[in-house]
């Protein structure tokens, strides 16, 4: 337990799909304390522009290391993509609340969209003893990240692509709809774009299946101090907003006001 802040050496920083990288950082303290669904705040360099740390779900842990999966989308991730092995980066974590384990006999349905596969990969790896069905959606086949990069072995990942170039032609929630029809008690774990999570939460609500979603927002501190990462709480929560960094990033699908998000 605990939160750590230290300089971590970049062990590797490999492009695993176009513009998509896996960065492995040496952090025995965070690696041993981290739970699936938790995140770290990474200072991508020592300069002041970009200034703020960037939040990343922990994608996997190795021997004293943590893996972060990212796609190059802006200033911060561009700097990261150019980072060479051996560079020391300040990392803060593990932060936030992770996923709660399933109830007895529940099948775990893992539903990932794009980079949202990161925390679910960690979950699948940690729960190899549980019944896990993993489905992942991408825009197109070239974006698919091979399971072994994320340390996942022995679990088949069912694929969906928006353009039909691999697996199911359509959104990953299409695969979920089928899986929800199957017999038996289920619980859904999901991470991905907000629109996808909204659909996941709504499908689960219809089928009365528990679902835990991991949300992504911009944040400055990651510690509950800046209150920059507010998301709207569902009616009856007793509060107007949750803070993703502390109340989350994992929430029950029922606790979020998806219309206002």
């Amino acid at each position: 337990m605990g939160i750590f802040e230290h300089k971590a050496a970049v062990v590797r920083n490999d492009e695993v799909a176009p513009s998509t990288f896996l960065m492995e950082l040496e952090s025995p303290s965070i690696a041993s304390a981290a739970k699936p669904g938790q995140f770290v705040m990474l200072r991508v360099w020592g300069g002041i522009d970009p200034l703020l740390r960037r939040p990343f779900s922990i994608c996997s842990t190795g021997k004293g290391t943590i893996l972060l999966l990212y796609r190059v989308v802006g200033k911060g991730t561009r700097v990261m993509a150019e980072t060479e092995a051996g560079t020391q980066l300040s990392v803060l974590g593990p932060l936030g609340r992770g996923f709660e384990p399933p109830g007895t006999g529940e099948d775990c349905l893992l539903v990932a969209g794009g980079m949202g596969i990161a925390p679910l990969a960690f979950l699948a790896r940690s729960w190899e003893d549980k019944s896990v069905s993993f489905m992942a959606g991408y825009g197109t086949a070239s974006q698919i990240i091979a399971s072994e990069h994320m340390g996942i072995h022995g679990i088949e990942i069912a694929l969906a692509t928006d353009d039909g170039s691999a697996g199911f032609h359509g959104p990953v929630t299409g695969l979920l709809e089928g899986a929800l029809e199957r017999e038996g008690k289920k619980i859904v774990y999901s991470c991905g774009p907000a629109a996808m999570l909204k659909r996941v939460a709504s499908l689960c609500r219809e089928k009365q299946v528990d679902c835990q979603v991991s949300l992504e927002t911009v944040m400055a501190c990651g510690l509950g101090a800046c209150q920059g990462c507010a998301v709207p709480a569902a009616a009856g929560a007793g509060k107007n907003t949750y803070h993703v960094c502390q109340d989350g990033p994992v929430f029950s699908g029922l606790s979020i006001d998806w219309e206002k998000l």
Binding site: E5, L52, T217, C221, Q227
Partner: protein
């Protein structure tokens, strides 16, 4: 060698600070959020998140956006309210060996007075810091802090309702910050802190939407530091009460600039997000500077700008 540990203590009006490094309101929560990483007992002081009379939910998202060498925030002063602060936060804060300062705000002069009254006699509160940058509901939403008369009225209302030293946090979004500084000094403030954030905005050119839910927000970080330093320099010369300088301070060198310009202490804000240990690193850096430059007391450097 005749080595002596440099003396980092500073006086700030009636307050004695163990060192001149204070964490800024809104960037350090209620102290406890950082406690696993930063031993608060090492700090000169902590200014807690701004409190209003009643809890406030804050603005809609997005509340923060990064800008070149800085960030815009429009949190909307989300806070738990003064009552919950006294019950839930102060008991832990008062066990600390550091100066706990409580930032307060209101939407009317009376509300400022009422928050101060609620904190009257509260053990463990070293001082109040008044945020005068809020919109004055009775005057069409114009910020109290942009008007010397309204700023002085708020200061008087707080002083009337408190037994604590009162520091007024000035907004830079004015034509003449020295005029506001002099007005609140005349009203009886024990000290000043400056600068609060500079108003700014950012636009997503693809969606043509503002990047903040609130459209505009407050700019902080290294981007504002030269502006802040300029204002601290002028205000420190315009008033006799002590000044706490802030605005984009990231390291000890930055802090020293403010001290040399005339600040008796500094506040560290946005830097806490970038480097959670920034405040402690600055304290160590100040100590090292004193050793390297044969300065026995950090106070000896205050206001020593050569022009």
């Amino acid at each position: 060698m005749n080595y002596r540990e440099p003396d980092l203590q500073v006086s700030f009006g009636p307050l004695k600070l163990k060192n001149p490094v204070v964490t800024a309101s809104g960037t350090f929560g209620y102290g406890r959020e950082y406690a696993e990483i930063v031993d608060p007992n090492l700090l000169g002081g902590i200014v807690v998140k701004g409190l209003s009379l009643k809890p406030r939910p804050g603005n809609s998202a997005p509340r923060i956006v990064e800008t070149p060498a800085g960030m815009l925030n429009a949190i909307g002063l989300e806070n738990i309210g003064v009552e919950a602060f006294l019950k839930e936060k102060l008991p832990w804060l008062k066990t600390l060996d550091t100066a706990v300062m409580v930032n307060i705000y209101g939407h009317s002069t009376e509300e400022y007075g009422a928050v101060a009254a609620a904190l009257k006699g509260a053990e463990g509160v070293a001082a109040l810091e008044i945020n005068v940058s809020c919109p004055n509901v009775k005057k069409g939403g114009m910020s109290f802090g942009t008007d010397p008369v309204a700023s002085a009225e708020v200061t008087e209302a707080v002083l009337k309702n408190t037994d604590k030293p009162v520091i007024v946090k000035l907004t830079p979004n004015v034509t003449d910050i020295c005029a506001v500084a002099r007005a609140v000094e005349h009203a009886g403030a024990h000290g000043l802190s400056l600068i609060n954030t500079l108003t700014g905005m950012a636009i997503d050119i693809k969606t043509r939407r503002p990047r903040l839910g609130n459209i505009s927000g407050g700019l902080s970080g290294p981007a504002i530091r030269p502006v802040a330093l300029y204002m601290v320099y002028h205000v420190a010369r315009a008033v006799k009460i002590p000044v706490m300088g802030m605005g984009g301070i990231m390291d000890a060198g930055d802090a020293l600039e403010f001290l040399i310009a005339g600040a008796r202490a500094v506040q560290v804000g946005t830097a806490n997000f970038v480097n959670p240990k920034a405040s402690l690193d600055i304290i160590e850096g100040l100590k090292q500077h004193c050793v390297d430059h044969d300065v026995q007391r950090i106070g000896d450097l205050i206001g020593t700008l050569k022009t």
